[in-house]
Symmetry: C2
Subunit: 320 residues, 2 copies
């Protein structure tokens, strides 16, 4: 059975679209994996790339891609709203099929060693790949950003995991990690009141006492004329979508507000969708078949979870 990982390199250019094209070129039409998407953001001055496929092929291609970025981006002349410490800022590996988290940690180490040997760029390992507790959370590593890294890396506490304690002068450093998939999920509310929306967000988000793996906040969508609870679900197994959605409905009730629909930003793993569909099938008295097709899943997701702008390619595995 083929091993499938998701790999989501982020690089520090999102304005010069010609340069973005030159960089992602080496990830297109390759054997063994798919370039699912790349999304340049001008405000952030950053591009998020999503790859899906064979981990070994991805390691080779992302190493090549890093060389291209090294050639084209000089961090001494880069600025944007998103914090960053390198021209390629992060490379996370995410297990999808027939791959364990331990293997993803190995892939992180393999590519870290390759990149460091070829380009002399120092590497920090983060998330599940972290070798020190203080490096589990990326923001702790990235604090001080490119500009501060020159000195930070000299502190014994911040010696890199691969390479010498000398920042690359034009590239900076990279964070390479392994983690489970994040789900970027938004719930639409039939109101324009962001204060109420914030109260509802507080009920579910960890920082206000809510679910342990949920980060959430209110946002008003000018174009659509209503608010959303926008969130990241950091562990969809422990905090499944249906439980968050039903809790939001429970809270909305006290304000006499309806949940009108919801949306997924980016992709989600099949497992995240199925564990919510099994709930809704059960409580609606419908037979749940975990072998159902992607089209069937999509139909049920729209009907019972209320996803808008949803199609089967939103499910990671449907892209394979």
């Amino acid at each position: 059975m083929n091993k499938i990982v998701q790999c989501v390199p982020n690089f520090s250019e999102g304005r010069d679209l010609e340069k973005v094209e030159q960089i992602v070129e080496c990830l297109k039409s390759k054997d063994g994996f798919k370039l699912v998407s790349y999304e340049p953001d001008a405000d952030y001055n950053r591009t998020v790339v999503t790859l899906l496929g064979d981990p070994i092929k991805i390691i080779d291609a992302v190493t090549e891609f890093t060389g291209k970025v090294l050639e084209l981006i000089d961090m001494n002349f880069q600025s944007g709203e998103h914090p960053r410490m390198g021209a390629v800022d992060v490379i996370p590996f995410i297990p999808i099929e027939n791959v364990s988290m331990e293997e993803c940690v190995e892939y992180a180490n393999t590519i870290a060693q390759k990149i460091n040997e070829q380009y002399h760029i120092p590497i920090f390992l983060y998330a599940e790949a972290a070798k020190q507790k203080s490096r589990v959370k990326l923001p702790a590593i990235r604090k001080g950003e490119f500009e501060g890294m020159k000195d930070k890396i000299k502190e014994e506490k911040w010696y890199p995991d691969y390479g010498v304690n000398e920042m690359h002068p034009t590239f900076g450093v990279i964070g390479i990690g392994a983690r489970i998939p994040l789900i970027a999920y938004n719930i639409d509310l039939g109101t324009t009141d962001t204060k109420i929306t914030n109260n509802i967000a507080k009920a579910i988000r960890f920082s206000s006492g809510g679910f342990r793996h949920v980060q959430a906040g209110p946002v008003y969508l000018d174009g659509r004329g209503h608010t959303q609870v926008t969130m990241n679900i950091l562990d969809y197994k422990k905090n499944p979508i249906y439980r968050i959605l039903e809790t939001v409905k429970m809270e909305a009730k006290r304000y006499d507000i309806n949940v009108t629909s919801c949306e997924l930003v980016g992709l989600m793993p099949k497992g995240a969708l199925l564990n919510s569909l099994s709930y809704y099938c059960r409580v609606n008295g419908i037979e749940y078949n975990k072998e159902m097709s992607f089209d069937e899943m999509t139909k049920l997701a729209i009907k019972y979870i209320g996803f808008r702008d949803f199609d089967s390619l939103k499910i990671i595995e449907a892209n394979i």
Copy 2:
């Protein structure tokens, strides 16, 4: 306006009921506060005392009570299932009316100084009264218990907050603290299946990814013939009862199980009940009057939250 605190001293005798009576005698029919209850537990070999009233009067009486305990309990001959580090093990102060948490921290310091001066018992301050982060959680202080404290207190890290670094040879040490009220809350399920009950408990408890301030587990009640999700709510403002109850109902649905009733162990503050009643009034289209009487609250609590064995004296403020 009168200041009202709850104070819940725990002492290390729950078997010799004559001794228990001798000890609590000095807390009975006193001016300015009420002895709400004392509950000796033979397995634990421990008695939990609940006092309610004027903080200054309580400080004086609990100091006297500590002297009585010193006279009657020798920890060198005490054992039981509950961990303990002193003959009086803990003295928490809980703000109820017209009292801030800061004031409760002051009361903790006042009684700590008094007890230490009069009886030479070393005191550790915990929870909101802790002066060091490592002392916020009581179990960290209590680790090693009475038997281990003789050596532990000699370590610089574990010098007491009041007194010298020498354990009292027969009494041990006391943890004195300030905290918000805990709510001990159980939800009855119409099943005998503890595995399902455990799955439901996991959905709400922090340690499995659930609500931040909830500790929960499954228990089978032999006498009643059904299971319960039994829990402590450590912060009822951030994790209100209604939200936990509705989440348990949501989860129970997928197993086709009903929530049959629920119960409160000990007391709860009026505010904890009112924030849930305001939810149920709202979603049931009933007018919510926050000035309602204790009897009215009790009626609504039984009707909408489903409390069994409930009366108005379960509300802390109704005892004042």
